[in-house]
């Protein structure tokens, strides 16, 4: 038994070693490769899956419309397990083996920051359609990095704008965020905007940072309830969002929660009616009421009608990834070449028509300037059989844009 097992193990190892030296496919000359790097294993797989599907769908559409610069666009997808070192390794592989000049991710600011180092070294474009840390386009800026999603300042501002405009009667705000870089930045964003536009007499009555993956929110909820808060602002995601809402509702809190990620069906499916009346904001939502968006949803349905819940509709990240890739493709088209320096030049300051309105790539920090959308969770939805966000309020770009001088980017003075 023991020796047989040893022999089998030995054979497996030997096969493995041989397998490693199999040649990798080299792309054809008439292809443009977009390298998509996302977590496709581990607990964040569903997040990664969505981005990949959004990006892939954009690439299919581009090809269906005749390709890019007369070439076919190909998606090369790699799993980074949400680890910067692995993301960097995969990016190098894509760049050196598949000759890609465009790498992208939407999950984890640390991944984008790590990829920025690789992109700078090998001089390729590093696109993010989902990582929000301000310093990506701020203090850690490199000319190769472009961001086609909201940053934390914009995202927080959109939520505060919605609350203040729609519910000027609320006077007591409370901030609860996860105790790490993203949570802290989200809170900063809330406070900055609140200070700017707070109704008379309104104030922030409390601010709390809890550890990531907190199991019991009851102590926090009780503290919030004791403060008499009417609005709770939060950047929480994942279980920290679901449990905050569930434990809040079970203890009978009477607050309106404004959050970054509430338009995620995976969250709303679980928390169900406890989420009604809470507010989400983003750059894109499927409930946007424009003909362009209707057309986009119809096209999406042709491919993903029976897909898993996470990307059956282009909710949350999928829609963003789609438009980001389209935007980049337009920049490449405008440059007329895949030469990276020329694409950078062409993209800077460029405008693009997205489903929710006009967006622009700010030249100095490569941050997409866009209107925001914010909406409340309604009891019923035409898309899902659980409560989901309704038609959004469009918040103009000027209301949520960080002035260049405040970005911390040396190029923006």
């Amino acid at each position: 038994m023991r020796t047989t097992m040893k022999k089998i193990l030995w054979a497996v190892c030997a096969t493995a070693v041989l397998g490693m030296f199999l040649p990798a496919a080299v792309p054809a000359a008439d292809e443009i490769v977009f390298g998509v790097i996302e977590p496709l294993s581990g607990p964040f797989k569903d997040v990664g899956d969505r981005y990949v599907n959004g990006a892939k769908f954009a690439i299919e559409q581009i090809n269906a419309e005749g390709g890019l610069l007369g070439k076919k666009v190909v998606a090369a997808v790699e799993d980074d397990a949400l680890k910067p070192a692995i993301a960097a390794r995969k990016a190098k592989k894509l760049i050196l083996k598949k000759k890609t000049k465009f790498i992208m991710t939407g999950t984890g600011s640390h991944i984008t920051l790590s990829l920025a180092k690789v992109a700078k070294k090998y001089k390729v474009i590093n696109l993010t359609y989902g990582t929000e840390a301000a310093k990506i386009t701020g203090s850690a800026f490199t000319p190769y990095t472009f961001r086609c999603c909201l940053n934390t300042d914009q995202h927080s501002a959109a939520i505060v704008e919605y609350m203040v405009r729609k519910y000027p009667q609320y006077k007591k705000y409370y901030i609860i965020c996860q105790d790490y870089a993203f949570g802290r930045e989200a809170a900063e964003g809330f406070k900055k905007k609140f200070k700017e536009i707070a109704p008379k007499g309104a104030r922030i009555v409390g601010e709390i940072f809890h550890p990531i993956a907190t199991k019991d929110f009851a102590p926090y909820v009780s503290a919030i309830m004791a403060s008499g808060a009417e609005v709770v602002l939060s950047g929480n995601w994942g279980t920290d969002l679901r449990l905050l809402i569930k434990h809040g509702a079970s203890l009978g809190w009477k607050v309106r929660l404004g959050n970054y990620f509430l338009n995620d069906p995976l969250v709303l499916q679980e928390v169900g009616k406890d989420s009604i009346g809470h507010v989400a904001a983003d750059a894109y939502m499927i409930t946007i009421d424009t003909p362009e968006n209707k057309a986009f949803l119809a096209k999406w349905a042709t491919k993903y009608k029976d897909a898993p819940l996470a990307y059956r509709y282009p909710t949350l990240s999928t829609g963003r990834a789609y438009y980001a890739v389209r935007f980049m493709a337009e920049a490449i088209r405008k440059a007329g070449t895949t030469d990276v320096q020329k694409v950078i030049k062409a993209w800077e300051g460029m405008e693009f028509q997205a489903a929710w309105g006009k967006v622009r790539m700010r030249a100095c920090d490569h941050q997409m300037i866009t209107p925001g959308v914010a909406s409340e969770v309604l009891p019923t939805s035409e898309y899902f059989d659980f409560p989901y966000v309704g038609k959004p309020m469009i918040i103009p770009a000027e209301a949520i844009t960080t002035p260049p001088a405040e970005t911390g980017n040396p190029r923006c003075k």
Binding site: M5, A16, P84, I86, L96, D179, F182
Partner: protein, 328 residues
Amino acid sequence: MTHTRTKNVLTVLIVLAALVVLPYLLTEVQLNMAIEIAFFSLFAVSYNLLLGYGGVLSFGHAAYFGTGAYFMVFALKYVAGMPILPAVLVSGVAAGLTAAIVGFFCVRLGGSYFALLTLAFNQLIYAIALKWRSLTGGDDGIGLDKHDMYLPFVGNLDTMSTFTVYYLTVIIVLISLWLIRFFLKTPYGNTVACVKDNEERAAFIGYNVFRSKLVLFTMAGFFAGIAGALFAFFEEFVSLDSINMAMSTEVLFMAFIGGTGSFLGPVLGAAVFIYFTEWVSDITEHWEFFLGVLFVLLILYANRGIIGLIPEKIKNFWSPRSASAGER
């Protein structure tokens, strides 16, 4: 005896020559991987000081790897004109000191107690790195800005070049491995290395088990820190992933898969681990499952690791002196 020695010297020369010419034979992707294997080898060997020689299972070795990585960034970022080699040394010392402090609490205890405490301290150090955002960048991580490296007689080296990073890494790893090996062969090192086998006897004949274990723990931390510094230098970016429990697990996998019973087993383990994760993760998203199964099968049927699976004859040819610390 002379015959063996000749063969040893020859083997060493062949390996050295191979390492020198390797960059000219490999593609850049493979070269990058070779660099990763090099510093992870050192990390795994340092871990094996605890598991193989000390006979204790640590779930917190990433704490020192991460400390080294962060200090590498700090040294190059906050100390103007800091040369690279001293920066690596500083990182190792920082990690070693951390290990000494943690070790002071942990090494008194054995078995499961030790495992749990190292895990808890790993979490504590992780929490510090997470909280101290102004210094570490918290969850966003922190970039390392390279500058050129000046070497006497050689001149300025372009540290952006993968070649330079390769040679630098391999040389530091080889020197470190040699130092560890050298130490283990000194009389004092020998008593330290045997602490697992004769803990009771050792305590009986009156030498200080606590001190031996602490020395071993500190040394393991120091070299993990050096490996971490090389990691930071290669990645040009350090984040919490270098210091969290997953990294501690990976190094356990590397050391054990390679073989804890021999000095070089973990080197093999690091190579296999990196290739395995790279290769299998391309095939299936469930690669961690297969990694776990491999690990469990090795524990059940081949607890000397892959190196224990190599037929004796081949092994005897390559390393006539077999490992000093044997796992039963």
